[in-house]
Amino acid sequence: MARVAVGARAASAFRGVAAGTGRTLLVLALTFFGLLLVTFLIGRVVPIDPVLAAVGDRASAETYARARAELGLDLPLYQQFAIYVGKVLQGDFGRSVLTSNPVLTDIGRFFPATLELATLATILGVGIGVPLGVIAAARQGRWQDQVIRVVGLLGYSIPVFWLGLVGLLVFYARLGWVAGPGRVDVGFNDIVEPMTGLILLDSLMEGEGEVFANALSHLVLPAAILGYFSLAYVSRMTRSFMIDQLRQEYIVTARVKGIAERRVVWRHAFGNVMLPLVTVVALSYANLLEGSVLTETVFAWPGIGAYITNSLLNADMNAVLGGTIVVGAVFIGLNMASDLLYRLLDPRAR
């Protein structure tokens, strides 16, 4: 009898998990479908003729008509969308008109460049922004708080384009501390065989120390500039979460008990701030992974942001849709990862 009950409990738990997974998958599929549909429609509403990107302004009427048919633009809208979704389900994202490459090849080339940049920027932004936020909260209203507030405000308000150019002028052109625009110097092109597409990782795996140092030197400045914006956001959020916690009764109790202030702040209050911070950091990271068109432009960085923007301005819809799926997947993936972290960090969420 007992064995039957255990078996039934296990089966019911399994059914629960299966149903949960099924629901998640369904939600995921619907999200992606919606994302694709909206992007597709936006692409068709944009007042740009997609054939112009393929054959330009000078092609003969015959060439123009052929290109239009090849792009499937002579079909009704719903049919164009159905064909596209059908192909995507078979793993065929089509070709980009602008680069002549399969969209997946392009994304495989441009996304790692953005990933590398966004990851280092986030590490810098979080590594510096969180301690600054905690200090600002702990010293609320004092000079430290004011200084950190000004730093944050500047990060919010200075245009990234301007900051990038000034950064290049000072640290690259004048001081010569870092390398200039691009991912590596021309002399280092093609030395590392791309395996992951992340130059830092590839050069380390292939033991190319010089390439690693050169790539890092190219990466530091754009990552620091993007990291600064991330820092501004993360430090403000950390400060407000911390102030909220520092007002709680358990903090008063801890202080009354004579626990050292540093321990009260970092152990008691910060411990409870980590949870909401996970979401903040994940969102900031996801934003950077979308690619930052302006930073990519100033630093001649071949990232996904400039790729998608350029494609959209040319109505190169395969590229735009492919890019959107990747960005969507990043958002959804990071959301799920932060959910998971939530569960790990907070027993109540399990």
């Binding site: 990107a53 000078r58 060439t63 691009g182 002399g187 140092a213 030197s217």
Partner: protein, 528 residues
């Protein structure tokens, strides 16, 4: 703690001593340029500015023109050429002993194959050849090798021989290594897919690599029949932002910056390490006035608006060093080009003309213009000029492709854009600015005259007849008078011609800049 210090110290050292500031390698020339327009490097397909430049360094043509004197033609792969008395049969004798980069001999069969494929594929530049009556069904009869050294081309009707010759100097007429290409053909694509990113040519360079939106790299062709290039490699990197190009150049990380703005060029003047070189390019900046707008359809209004543009002030204040004032549709250096500048800002004259048209109180119109430099500034200056005559101009900035889409649908009042010639013969611009064979909305020929709904049966006939005039002097005279008439009555305010400026490190020189994008050559660049 110790550990952490070591790691930090190591990281900083790596950053500070990394060889990031070395000048470019000795045997390599590095250029920064906006090259995200490249969609293919197949000579039968390429038609974008950056792609055309790359391809013209990789592929050779049968004949070419002297970039200093465009009217002089010389053989590249042929030693002689001529037209028979029937006026339609052209014969080209190939030079002997020339080889492609692959080592394959260059024969008349390669030339025939290359021209045939361009006609059969009929990609964007295909019209340059199909306008001589070649179709996919007849091209194998009309363009063929009668023996390994002789290419015969038969046009559908008599044209000015120079018209055909100039079209053979266009990239679409490049000679491709047919043996190599055919090894990579898929189905009936004539290796189009492969040639987008590989090369099979015989000019000074071969294509090592093209990474869209990043860079392309050319390598010296070891089998080049001409004088060997002085450098082994040319790397052209996509750097979109002109200010970034300038920083790279000043720092010595690139040898050439190709897209500096007027401000950048002024700023580098004082740098003793940097020099500039320039060449007029055939790009013409103009305003098109749509004749569907009843006000703009009045001849007096068109003329008045031409008197309301302050050409000199715009050139001086916005475009100096990068554009010159030019008011006719043929760029400098073309057969029949004129330098007449009949218009300058004359508000009183414009007001009188507007009054004559019954619009003394002025009127309101819109102008679509690309929202990028220098068009935004030019558009605002035009707006200010029009306002002096009482014409209220509302500007509609847009992405360039968006503006062109609207233009092609003839939904504009007026538009500010530029036009670059497709090949070196005057017909290229005459056809688009001064012919409109069918003004209906469904016309297959979307010339600029058509886009502005300018119905001109007589001028169209003159323009189309001009290509049949076999006497070069008479032909030039036709274009001269055509342009003068066009300046008077057309709905085009032709304003400026572009000058291309390249800034370079002083220790590097020899970059040849011709009158068109496909006459910019790297083969004589050397580093001292």
């Amino acid at each position: 703690m110790r550990h952490r210090e070591w790691v930090f110290g190591g990281l900083m050292t790596a950053l500070l001593v990394s060889p990031a500031f070395a000048a470019t390698p000795k045997d390599t020339v590095v250029m920064a340029k906006q090259i995200d327009d490249i969609i293919s490097l197949d000579p039968g397909e390429v038609f974008e500015f950056s792609g055309a430049e790359a391809v013209s360094n990789i592929y050779d043509k049968l004949i070419d023109f002297n970039i200093k004197k465009v009217s002089e033609l010389h053989g590249r792969l042929v030693e002689s050429w001529g037209v028979a008395d029937d006026g339609v049969t052209y014969t080209f004798k190939m030079k002997k002993g020339l080889k492609f980069a692959s080592g394959n001999p260059i024969t008349a069969a390669d030339a025939a194959w290359s021209l045939q494929r361009a006609v059969i594929l009929n990609k964007t530049p295909g019209f340059i050849l199909t306008q001589f009556g070649f179709t996919k069904d007849n091209v194998k009869d009309r363009i063929k090798a009668s023996d390994p050294e002789t290419l015969v081309i038969v046009t559908a009707k008599q044209v000015a021989p120079s018209f055909l010759y100039y079209c053979l100097t266009a990239n679409v007429s490049s000679v491709v290594d047919s043996k190599l290409a055919e090894q990579h053909a898929k189905g009936d694509d004539f290796a189009n897919e492969w040639l987008k990113s590989h090369s099979a040519g015989s000019n000074a360079f071969t294509l090592r690599d093209w990474r869209a939106n990043e860079d392309y790299t050319l390598e010296a062709n070891p089998n080049y029949w001409g004088k060997k290039p002085a450098v082994k490699r040319v790397v052209v990197r996509h750097v979109a932002e002109p200010s970034t190009q300038r920083l790279l150049l000043e720092k010595g990380d690139i040898d050439y910056a190709r897209n500096l703005t007027r401000d950048d060029l002024n700023a580098i003047k004082s740098n003793p390490q940097i020099a500039t070189q320039e060449s007029p390019k055939g790009n013409i900046v103009y305003v098109g006035l749509n004749q569907k707008n009843p006000n703009l359809a009045k001849p007096e209004v068109r003329e008045a608006l031409k008197y309301l543009v302050d050409y000199d002030a715009i050139q001086r204040n916005i475009l100096s060093g990068t554009y010159i004032v030019h008011e006719s549709f043929l760029p400098d250096g073309f057969l029949g080009a004129i330098d007449d500048k009949p218009y300058k800002l004359d508000v009183a004259k414009a007001k009188a003309l507007l009054a004559k048209a019954g619009l003394s109180g002025g009127f309101t119109m819109t102008m679509d213009a690309p929202g990028s430099s220098p068009y935004t500034d030019i558009a605002q200056a035009i707006q200010a000029g029009f306002a002096q005559g009482g014409v209220k101009l509302e500007l509609i900035p847009g992405d360039q492709k968006q503006v062109i889409t609207k233009y092609r649908a003839r939904n504009h009042d007026s538009v500010l854009l530029y036009w670059g010639p497709d090949y070196q013969d005057p017909h290229t611009n005459a056809q688009t600015f001064a012919s409109n064979p069918d003004n209906s909305d469904s016309s297959p020929s979307k010339t600029l005259a058509w886009r502005n709904s300018w119905n001109i049966p007589e001028m169209t006939k003159t323009t189309l007849d001009a290509v049949g005039e076999r006497d070069a002097e008479k032909r030039a005279a036709i274009y001269e008078s055509l342009q003068r008439e066009h300046q008077k009555i057309s709905p085009f305010i032709i304003m400026f011609e572009q000058i291309e400026v390249a800034a370079h490190r002083k220790n590097v020189d020899g970059f040849i800049m011709g009158p068109s994008v496909d006459t910019n050559f790297y083969e004589e660049i050397r580093k001292n």
